[in-house]
């Protein structure tokens, strides 16, 4: 979509011709995230919908216990040391950030008094600073008041590399200063279009200065409050057994009225997704289960019991296949899959195009994923109702055969195509996961009909997804011809997600294969666009840039997007949750209640 068309659409929203909801959905259809679309409207001066969540209870407490099931149990409760979302969710019960993202992409204030904008002077015109006003009257669980000092301290704590906090990426390039006891200014060193990163969502939880101050830097691991969180959240800490259980009780001096509803909260860990689904949907032993990576058939059968329902919220996660343009077998300068080498088949765009035509996404969605996945042609997410006009996908074995014939790949005596003596036999690797093995089988079958033989390889998830330099099977090394996995959009903004295809991020021996551009794709136009997108302040122009970048990657067929995976959770029928696909499950925990 061109910039002109985008601006016209935004004008329509302003005049009321197009509802805000519909605009956001269209943007998501083009591959942007809802928060980005919301930012576009905010920039144009269109006020956010006052997203008042439905909250019926008229008093605090009285709701009994809330039992959550996380089949990967939380192993620590300090948000800045979190190993993955499970630890962030465990911490989120007790700690809070300044603002969170709701399902429509709106920023909702939690510890902030209001969302910064141009009108209230929060956002600077040059895009280099944001002023946050903090809520007054908020106290930590131990009674101390929450002030701007805590925010400034959180920044100092996280940005210190000796602390080894995993959220450092968000805090290291900013300066946070206190303006008064309830106001802070966050200054970026260059104009930053997407400013809602520091102190927002999962990476922005604020920690108390008076408890963590003696433990900055190298002493960070000794802080007793790493295991006994004291936060501002709706529940106070009771007990924690790593990997097993997190328990909390109601915070009677919580800063929002009539909240929380439940008296105690318990987050149990361990087991697997299927038994978690069973405990919520079939026996009703638990009220909520996270991340049900279970086949839809099984989920439907369990829901028939009538005790719970699977909740599906769209997000940015995408299951996709990468094709290797380099040679994964032969070493060049002591390095396999080096950018100096070329793949004998995949460096030919025609072969890549043929491969893309052989992925039967529709069948995968219909038979494997069901409600839990949507076939997509975009690398950035794409709900089925809105198709991007720029990328098309189809499943057509005959067309693939034609393209390969024309490109000079003739079938040999065994039915496998070959050219200049090299046969089309590829190694296709992924992690061990029943769903993924089924997807592999689907692709292999179609490829066989086109004369391509695929050798399926599956690696244990904990090895495949590791960054172990000594192991040849990690996804970062990509020492195979094709690989498949799900990449998650951990932040609502597309910049970090899309800059993984710039040439600076190429995964190679020099950076111990920790670069994020795993398919070693190098394209000068893309690099230029990425640079432009990072500094473009006008969110509309920026959106147009990212849509173009998405199209570049997909049309070159270096990645074949397969399934856009929404978040699937299970909740009992009478539990009212405010679930978002753009933030943690528990991002609005204070609003959860049970309908009578």
């Amino acid at each position: 979509m061109k910039e002109r068309e985008l601006r016209a659409l935004i004008e329509d929203v302003r005049t009321g011709l197009v509802p805000r909801r519909s605009f956001i959905q269209q943007m998501v259809g083009l591959g942007l995230s809802a928060p980005m679309a919301s930012m576009m409207l905010m920039h144009a001066g269109i006020a956010q919908a006052q997203a008042a969540p439905i909250y019926k209870p008229a008093k605090r407490g009285g709701g009994g216990p809330l039992k959550l099931l996380w089949w990967q149990g939380a192993t620590l409760l300090q948000p800045h040391f979190a190993n993955g979302t499970k630890d962030q969710e465990g911490s989120r019960i007790f700690y809070e950030p300044l603002a969170v993202w709701d399902n429509d992409g709106n920023l909702v204030p939690v510890l902030a008094a209001e969302i910064p904008s141009r009108e209230n002077g929060g956002l600077a015109a040059d895009g280099k600073s944001v002023v946050w006003k903090l809520k007054k009257g908020v106290t930590w669980h131990d009674g101390q008041p929450f002030t701007a000092d805590d925010c400034v301290f959180t920044w100092e704590y996280v940005k210190d590399p000796a602390t080894a906090a995993v959220t450092i990426g968000v805090f290291k390039d900013i300066v946070v200063e206190k303006i008064d006891a309830y106001t802070i200014r966050v200054t970026f060193n260059q104009p930053t279009p997407f400013w809602a990163t520091a102190f927002c969502a999962a990476e922005g939880m604020v920690i108390p200065k008076h408890l963590f101050a003696p433990y900055v830097g190298a002493k960070s691991r000794d802080a007793p409050n790493n295991l006994r969180p004291v936060g501002t959240g709706p529940y106070k800490f009771v007990d924690f057994k790593p990997g097993d259980i997190v328990r909390g009780e109601i915070n009677t001096s919580y800063h929002m009225p009539n909240r929380p509803y439940f008296d105690t909260i318990e987050m149990k860990g361990g087991g697997d997704a299927t038994s978690a689904a069973r405990a919520v949907l079939q026996t009703g032993e638990y009220d909520y289960a996270w991340n049900l990576q279970v086949e839809d058939e099984v989920l439907l059968r369990m829901e028939a019991g009538g005790k719970g329902k699977a909740q599906i919220s769209p997000g940015g996660d995408i299951e996709f296949i990468q094709l290797n343009p380099t040679d994964p077998v032969n070493e060049v300068d002591g390095e396999r899959a080096s950018i100096k080498s070329k793949h004998f088949a995949f460096s030919d765009p025609a072969v890549r195009q043929a491969m893309a035509l052989l992925c039967d996404k529709k069948s995968m969605q219909q038979f494997i994923y069901g409600r839990t996945g949507f076939a997509t042609g975009n690398f950035m997410n794409n709900p089925p109702r809105f198709r991007s006009p720029n990328t098309r996908w189809e499943f057509n074995i005959d067309k693939a055969n034609q393209i390969l014939d024309k490109a000079g790949w003739k079938r040999g005596a065994d039915g496998v195509r070959e050219k200049s003596g090299k046969k089309m036999k590829f190694v296709y690797q992924t992690s061990i996961n029943p769903t993924r093995q089924k997807e592999q089988a689907v692709v292999k079958q179609a490829a066989q009909k086109a004369g391509i033989e695929l050798e399926l390889k599956s690696v244990t998830a904990s090895v495949f997804f590791s960054s172990d330099v000594g192991n040849p099977d990690t996804f970062g090394k990509f020492w195979a011809d094709m690989q498949m996995y799900t990449t998650t959009m951990t932040a609502p903004d597309a910049q970090r997600f899309m800059d993984q295809y710039t040439s600076a991020e190429v995964s190679q021996k020099a950076n111990k294969w920790q670069g994020r551009n795993i398919c070693r794709w190098i394209n000068a136009d893309y690099d230029k666009a990425a640079l432009a997108g990072a500094s473009e302040l006008d969110p509309i122009k920026r959106a147009a840039i990212y849509i173009r970048m998405n199209d570049m990657v997909v049309n070159d067929n270096i990645v074949i997007p397969l399934i856009s995976r929404p978040r699937v959770r299970g909740a009992s029928l009478n539990l009212v949750t405010s679930l978002s696909g753009w933030d943690l499950d528990l991002s609005a925990l204070q609003n959860w209640y049970r309908e009578a």
Binding site: I168, G169, N226, P242, K268, G270, Q282, K512
Partner: protein, 319 residues
């Protein structure tokens, strides 16, 4: 015997050292690293991962890491988990009570089933009771625990809705209520494990008793007019149980190793699930801690079994 005991204890020390070297080397050579999950997170810069690795000494050579670990162990510091950032001994101690309760109860159940059934089967070999018991025993130890566990869950939790199938180590109730809930949630895992173990022990007890019941002194006791019950209990069982007692002593360490599959199915927070989680996440200190404890227990209980055997059977002498 004192001489024998001393010699065994002295041999135990190099055995433990050897075990720890092998364990450590295998773990160090194993693929994967504890900070793997961060590798997929674009917001964690590679520099932080490097810093964490350096902080935990992951980049030092293997022998250096081993001696570092050994020295710390000797001082009583069992290490610091990479994943939970908690001391390893605290992690293990948290899980011991549950493991003892559930796995311990299952061993008691196994004994309670194996002894009477085995003895009675041997007393009346090839009778109907014996045939039925043997068939059930074979079925029992052929069916894997994950299968029987799932069957029980489907039957008792889902169909009948009598029992909860998620184990909770902390029940917010006291007195009778607490016991009642504890029993309800423990029945299934204890039964699954206990019957599996009991099935193989039944056969063992049966063959041990059969060996003894044929001997001459049993015939003598009978011909002297003693009641069958007294012959069985006082003469046969006491001698037949000697090998059984040593077998039980040798399987005691299993209680601490936990039952990994059952713990996964029922979400029992025992040592077995701690071990498997640590292995999958490459959390080396925890794996070293747990396996080291386990190997100490194995050596210790082997020693006890040997001593016990010598004490129960006067024909055995120590050399």
């Amino acid at each position: 015997m004192g001489h024998y005991l001393l010699r065994r204890l002295l041999i135990a020390v190099p055995s433990l050292l050897g075990i720890s070297v092998v364990l450590f080397t295998v773990l160090a050579l194993a693929p994967g690293d504890p900070f793997g999950e961060m590798a997929t997170n674009p917001n964690v810069p590679a520099a932080v991962r490097e810093m964490l690795r350096a902080k935990f000494g992951l980049d030092d050579p293997i022998w250096q890491r081993y001696f570092h670990w050994l020295w710390a162990m000797l001082k009583g510091d069992w290490g610091f988990s990479f994943i939970s950032r908690v001391d390893v001994d605290k992690l293990i101690l948290q899980r011991v009570p549950v493991t003892l309760a559930v796995i311990g109860a299952s061993q008691v159940l196994a004994l309670a089933v194996a002894l009477p059934v085995g003895i009675y089967s041997a007393a009346r070999p090839y009778s109907l009771f014996d045939r039925v018991a043997s068939t059930l025993a074979f079925v029992g130890f052929s069916l894997p625990t994950f299968f029987t566990g799932l069957l029980l869950i489907l039957l008792f939790s889902i169909k009948l809705d009598w029992l909860p199938f998620v184990y909770r180590a902390d029940i917010a109730a006291t007195g009778w209520q607490w016991w009642w809930h504890q029993i309800k949630q423990s029945i299934m895992p204890v039964t699954v494990l206990g019957l599996f173990q009991g099935a193989s022990w039944t056969r063992y007890v049966r063959s041990a008793v059969l060996d003894v019941i044929r001997l001459d002194y049993v015939t003598t006791a009978r011909s002297k007019g003693l009641q069958e019950r007294v012959v069985l209990m006082k003469h046969v069982v006491r001698n037949a149980l000697i090998p059984v007692v040593t077998l039980v002593a040798l399987t005691m360490p299993q209680i601490f190793g936990g039952a990994i599959v059952t713990e996964q199915i029922f979400r029992v927070p025992g040592i077995g699930s701690l071990l498997i989680d640590a292995i999958l996440r490459n959390d080396t200190p925890v794996v070293m801690g747990v396996t080291f404890v386990f190997s100490c227990l194995v050596i210790f209980f082997n020693l006890i079994a040997d001593l016990l055997y010598g004490w129960l059977d006067p024909r055995i002498s120590y050399r």
